[in-house]
Point group: none
Chain length 208, copies 4
């Protein structure tokens, strides 16, 4: 994310190599991300202006642009950070149904509690146009969950719960696809019941 002038990327947290000059203000960084998250959830990406972020964070616009190359990149990181906190990282319930439920139910609950759909749609839209952004988006929002899913299916196969030769990518799309579909199109409720129905259907489709 960061535009590095010298040395390796240090988006997350720099190793404690003492640098010359005034160090980056951690307080500003957090204020920016918090302000961005709030504004995104309140007004969406289009309605959240950099001037507003700067003002709410008590920070200058130049500071923001020093560390994030664009509004979209900032939004990406802000949402990622807000999201990451409650994500269940280690999942292994012992059954495929349990694993899938443990993956999908928290996602749905998170997405329902605040208007994340609007922000996610905007990020997805931006990813269609900007390849750099697309890669960032995929690395943070898509791949981790797919990897988690692949691991769950692999464990299920090892347990003999599902036949070998299952196309896991298709299966994952049939799990996440419907959820995103209801999130973005809002034509029908996105709740635990729907998650259960989707998981049931996928499991049935695998059972021969």
């Amino acid at each position: 994310m960061r535009v590095e002038r010298d040395g390796p990327a240090v988006t997350e947290r720099a190793a404690a190599v003492p640098r010359r000059g005034r160090p980056r203000s951690e307080q500003s960084r957090l204020a920016i991300l918090d302000a961005t998250t709030e504004l995104l959830l309140e007004h969406g990406l289009a309605g959240a202006s950099m001037d507003a972020v700067a003002e709410r964070a008590g920070v200058s616009k130049a500071t923001i642009y020093r560390w994030w190359p664009s509004k979209e990149a900032l939004a990406l990181e802000a949402v990622y950070r807000a999201w990451k906190g409650e994500e269940p990282s280690q999942i292994d319930t012992g059954s495929l149904r349990g694993d899938l439920r443990a993956m999908l139910v928290p996602w749905v609950r998170r997405v329902r509690e605040r208007p994340y759909g609007r922000v996610i749609a905007a990020l997805v839209t931006e990813a269609q146009t900007d390849p750099t952004f697309e890669e960032q988006y995929r690395t943070r929002f898509v791949e981790p969950r797919r990897e988690q899913g692949r691991a769950a299916f692999a464990r299920a196969a090892a347990r003999g719960e599902i036949p070998t030769g299952v196309d896991v990518d298709v299966a994952l799309d049939m799990l996440y696809g419907p959820l995103y579909h209801r999130l973005l199109h809002r034509h029908a409720p996105l709740n635990d019941r729907f998650v259960a129905d989707v998981i049931d259907a996928v499991l049935r489709s695998l059972a021969r």
Copy 2:
């Protein structure tokens, strides 16, 4: 779409009631929609400016704003019109698999031939924020296809192809959801093969 001053909405084509005053220029209307479609596909919604549409259509901006309340509304109608043309309206192949294929394969081909994903993502994003727009979007892009799908499932049930009590809305989300998912996230190919896999999985999940 049109801002009607008196009488019922006549977005599509007005009945031939002779009105006073200079009639709307059909030529301008089409030029605007065509120009919009092209610019959307070339640059996306954010990159397509109203000034550019006006210039390419050989039309004044005021004329555009007379008939469409916003850029997004114009984009919606332009994409809808470009889309509608090749849509298979009447589908009844005699089997559920055939019907679903007839619905989904053309959709996938259409979506692949030009960068519609970018535009659809932008429309979906706008729908998250503007309720009026959301309704327009749903009426034109979501509901017709769902209605078509419900009819196909109803015929299949009547034929005894599928059990009674199938939750059709869930089934439709499991068909369209994965397609939209690959369209918007682009993590894996969206092709006829994938359509077949998805249909197979859904049919298997219904077979008890």
Copy 3:
């Protein structure tokens, strides 16, 4: 003013030569002029739009443009008509002071009773740019009064009230100039008292 297509100018009132086609609607003409006058006095020239005139007059814009070439020309005629009504046409009081008072006092009263200053300023401004308009303006608003003034001075000279060789044009500018000055700059009251002061000063300046 009128754009004549065939035949002589008939701005004032056409001779009753029977013409082909539907005759001009006298009612519309008056409604347009009245509406224009009212809008000019309410909002000034810039704030009075042709659409507003058309609407208030219950007339179509095309009708206005058929008879007047521009908004300014219409305003000119409207103000002229509103003005002309109360103008004292024949003046001969027997003394120069009396004649001047008879010329200037009604002018001042008229100009004070409604916000004519704003409209006159706008007409003067337009006259600076458009030569055709300037000539119209001068013919209607400047020359008649100057001619009247010249006649008054001529009678005074004939009576021996003032010396021969008086530069009447300068004298007239010293009478009307201060009035317009206060009308347009509004730095000091424009009332009967001021008129008397100006006339007194001019007469004193002529007395040798």
Copy 4:
């Protein structure tokens, strides 16, 4: 003119108090004023667009609107600045006639050399409608000259050149009024000869 956020108005030239933030570009400010002046003289106020000013000054429209609230306000300051340069500030020739000549002759010459009449008419027109603008106009274009005039008359009275009890405001209107009258109505030449005639007449009118 400037919209001051904190502290006193500093339209003219800010005292050298070091402020935070990027300082205002003096170069841009001058370029804007110069471009405005030229466009005003070439095309008048109505014909001088903000887009044209921005382009000619090599400046963005937003920059102009940051410092001037409207086109008219910008025009006012531009004309004022162009005007002020050659104004004789200190006048005391020893005689009232000399003082008046020193005031009026440069004014007439200035006004004749370029089409200022058109611009002044437009400013006067605007002042009729916008009270804020009117005050700005009066402060810059009317009051300074009247104050100068009052001082000249006061000196003349102190010298015994004119009687006591002269109504100076009337006298000033009889001096400037005719000049503005010829400037704006253009019915007769506005030259040094006319200035001399007007001054003569006013002085005669004061000599009992």
